[in-house]
């Protein structure tokens, strides 16, 4: 199972099974939104803030 540290609070985060690159996950410790940038090796970055033209 891939693990990575939260860039905000450094808490260890374990990817759930089926996690995909591009997915947004939430740090279980500090609650910040993180984007999964790579599964192997495991990597995350702070998710971009919502933009004005975002939507469905």
């Amino acid at each position: 199972m891939s693990t990575v540290n939260c860039p905000e609070c450094e808490a260890p985060i374990e990817f759930a099974e089926g996690t995909e690159a591009g997915e947004i996950i939430v740090c279980p410790d500090c609650g910040v939104d993180l984007e999964v940038t790579s599964i192997e090796p495991a990597a995350v970055q702070l998710a971009p803030m919502e933009q004005e033209d975002w939507g469905e």
Binding site: I24, E35, G55
Partner: protein, 304 residues
Amino acid sequence: MDCLLPSAFSWMILMQKRLKVGVLYSRVRVEEKWIFGAMEKRGIDYERLDDRAISFDLENPDPWKQYDAVLERSISYNSGLYALRLLNAFGVPTVNTASVAEICGDKLMTSAVLARDGVPQPRNVTAFSTEAALDAIEAFGYPVVLKPVVGSWGRLLAKINDRDAAEAVLEHKSTLGSVQHSVFYIQEFIEKPGRDLRIIMIGDKVLTGMYRSSEHWITNTARGGSGELCPITPEIEDICLRASKAVGGGLLGVDLVEHPEKGLVVNEINHTMEFHTMQPLSGIDIAGEIVEYVVKTATQNNKE
């Protein structure tokens, strides 16, 4: 015995081995996961196109022409819209088309085509200056709702209850907003029964629908509204088919409101609809339906 026979759809896939589909996306939300899963389940040759990683060389459109169809699922309206415009200019079929995205992504454009085709909608007026907007609001009577023409998830909607609020909101919008916020889209406030309806359209098929309820006047589930399955009545079917036709058809999330005098009216139409609440609620494989529609579009292109 039936289960042993390949469905017409499976045959179509077998016959069209060369089909290549692109999926343009910004983030892998649960909807994209389901769509990717549905592509893989059907053995479709597809490529994930992250809208932050791609670029278009107008002198070399060939890499894009390999796709028989591209499904657009961008979160950013601008990125999605311009990608669709380029792809359509290259002759690549897209779901939805650039024209549909142009209309659905802009509330004023949507209202214009609904009005053109006589599809019921809330009354609305547009103005381009704070003075003209204030005059229009006063003529309307309070309360009214001010909406940005581009935007989603219920963001920056303002319910205006009196002249003081109107003056304040208009001044804020003209001072703080981007140029787009100087297009003042003013809509009647509808005393709806604490809910609105989200209906999923797949081409000419009204697939499923739900009521979105909230004690807040904004009933969007992105704002915490909850969902309940809504039976598709002939009235719902009729207005959704007309709305879909007005905007150009495709994969659409039609939002309806129960107007106390007019009955059902179309509030807005989403061209890259989310369905994370709807799919489990309805038990319908919406992602699968989306994929089959995209494959149909790709197949038509593949034959041409």
